[in-house]
């Protein structure tokens, strides 16, 4: 690990100011992703601003009938919250399908949203990787690409976003609230939060340098049946090969978002009109234009089958 200086702050404004003031500074929350990457010197911040003391650790109702989740709420607490379990079950399920009990106890809402890809070449500092070292090339294209993206990728990068939580947030149409050092606040729709790689795969979100996430807001509950179905190489404690977040209404309409297939949670609202027609129809529209590799072409049919499993489970519960 490269040496870094360290500072604790006690308010969001102080946190944003501290990062803006110090070159090479980064926020650290649970540390479960950032520290891992710092040990490998993939991330090399010169200064860490510890945001664990800034509050933002509550889950509160919004005047619109939704829920405001503080950036520092731990994944365990979010999954266990009574309102989330009752009204936003897909979010609890997605969180509980991710990482381990120990990690969820530390991992935060903001940190989870900003966790970086698990592409094996991104982690291997001896290999070219455009995301880690812009312009160096992409080892995954033509290399081992089984876990990687089938859609939304580019000639520069085919990495997936590994977050389970983000897939549920995309299905729920969450918004991300932020503050900057000059005090400016804004909200970013989850659909616009993660950006596609294009020619600049090192840019992963719409956040500006030093912008602090303060909360994630959920709109009013949607009702319906909430399911998160995660397909992985072992029954627990593994990243998704394919995952499906579904919120399905009694008449068969609903929402579907995919994980494990794209550089961001993958949702195509127009495809959802086909939900009553079944998994094949929805999946075909969701994955129109997919460009899988020989290694991960299986994900195309796996998506269809996983959506099928979600729809079957909904029927079983009806």
């Amino acid at each position: 690990m490269k040496p870094f200086s360290y500072e604790r702050v006690t308010s969001p404004a102080e946190a944003a100011a501290a990062v803006a003031r110090t070159p090479g500074a980064r926020f650290i929350a649970g540390g479960t992703n950032l520290l891992d990457l710092m040990k490998l010197e993939i991330e090399t911040p010169a200064h860490l601003v510890d945001v664990n003391g800034i509050g933002l650790d509550r889950i509160e109702p919004t005047p619109e009938g939704g829920l405001r989740i503080g950036a520092l709420v731990r994944n365990t607490d979010l999954a266990a919250d009574a309102t989330v379990r009752r009204d936003y079950g897909v979010l609890s399920r997605a969180l509980l399908a991710g990482a381990s009990g120990q990690l969820r106890n530390k991992a935060t809402t903001a940190g989870n949203l900003l966790q970086r890809t698990r592409c094996p070449y991104f982690y291997d500092t001896n290999q070219p990787c455009n995301k880690r070292k812009p312009g160096s090339g992409c080892s995954a294209i033509g290399g081992y690409s089984r876990p990687l993206a089938i859609i939304g990728s580019s000639d520069a990068c085919i990495a997936t976003n590994p977050s389970d939580m983000a897939v549920a947030l995309r299905a729920l149409d969450a918004t991300v609230e932020t503050v900057q050092a000059d005090g400016t606040t804004r909200t970013i729709a989850i659909a616009d939060f993660h950006v596609l790689p294009g020619k600049t795969p090192h840019i992963e979100t719409a956040l500006k340098a030093g912008e602090l996430i303060t909360a994630v807001t959920l709109p009013k509950p949607l009702g319906g049946t909430h399911i998160y179905h995660k397909v992985r190489d072992r029954a627990s404690y593994a990243f998704a090969i394919v995952s499906v977040a579904g919120v399905i209404q009694p008449a068969g309409q609903g929402r579907i978002a995919l994980g494990g297939v794209a550089p961001r949670p993958w949702r195509v609202e127009a495809a959802e009109g086909d939900l009553p027609k079944g998994a094949k129809a929805v999946s075909a529209r969701l994955l129109a234009g997919a460009k899988p590799t020989a290694d991960n072409a299986f994900k195309v049919s796996l998506v269809e089958r996983t959506i099928g499993a979600v729809l079957a489970e909904v029927k079983g519960k009806a």
């Binding site: 010197e41 399920r93 509980l96 381990s100 094996p120 072992r234 627990s236 593994a238």
Partner: protein, 213 residues
């Protein structure tokens, strides 16, 4: 290699981070000298105070020191083990303010004011914690390397079920969390046992919880 490519990288990671450990533990000079000193930035230190197993501790540490290294290298509490050092194996599990965490993925300086319990703090050889006694009774280990992490995790898992924290295998999110073999297996999945003592571990935990797996 196919299922979890990151694991393959961990060895390289451990070698790369070796220099920092050498400086702390004062091991042989060779590795330290191999590092080109002109490119190394000055080390930053910070003070931290926390309680470990009931004893207040004040330390001044290289900011890079993980909670795991602080416990093992600075406080000589070597019960907590370093396995993967990447949050993947659970050998470093300790309980902080009542919650289990991976001490390898946490900086020591981030634990100001915290109350930390390691396997040494759960019980002593003369007065074992019920979970420690159950692991012995049920042969919940072979080599024993993952055991301190397993035991800390197991103690916290029972508290998590009591606190009604659901898991991936909980059938209904809106009824209280229940104890079962499936629940324990899922909740303990962050602790890997290379010897494969899993079934005995589940029996030990079930024994303490007072139910059958």
């Amino acid at each position: 290699m196919a299922t979890f490519p990151e694991l393959e990288l961990s060895r390289r990671g451990i070698l790369a981070s070796g220099a920092a450990t050498v400086a702390v533990s004062g091991l042989p000079q060779d590795d330290a000298q191999a590092a080109p000193s002109q490119t190394v930035k000055p080390v930053s230190t910070a003070r931290v105070s926390f309680t470990v197993n009931g004893t207040p501790q004040k330390l001044e540490l290289d900011t890079r020191t993980t909670l795991l290294d602080a416990l093992r290298e600075h406080l000589q509490l070597t019960g907590t083990k370093k396995g993967c050092d990447q949050g993947q194996c659970g050998a470093c599990t300790v309980i902080v303010d009542g919650r289990r965490i991976n001490s390898c993925l946490s900086l020591a300086v981030m634990h100001e004011g915290d109350s930390i319990t390691t396997v040494e703090g759960l019980g002593t050889p003369d007065k074992l914690h019920p979970m420690q006694a159950a692991f012995i009774r049920h042969d919940g280990y072979q080599c024993g390397y993952c055991t301190p992490g397993q035991i800390c995790s197991a103690v916290a898992v029972l508290d998590e079920i009591k606190a009604n924290i659901p898991s991936h295998v909980s059938a209904d999110l809106n009824t209280p969390a229940r104890l079962s073999g499936d629940e324990l297996r899922e909740r303990m999945s962050g602790n890997i046992c290379r010897c494969g003592a899993y079934s005995n571990i589940i029996e030990a935990i079930s024994d303490v919880a007072g139910g059958a797996a």
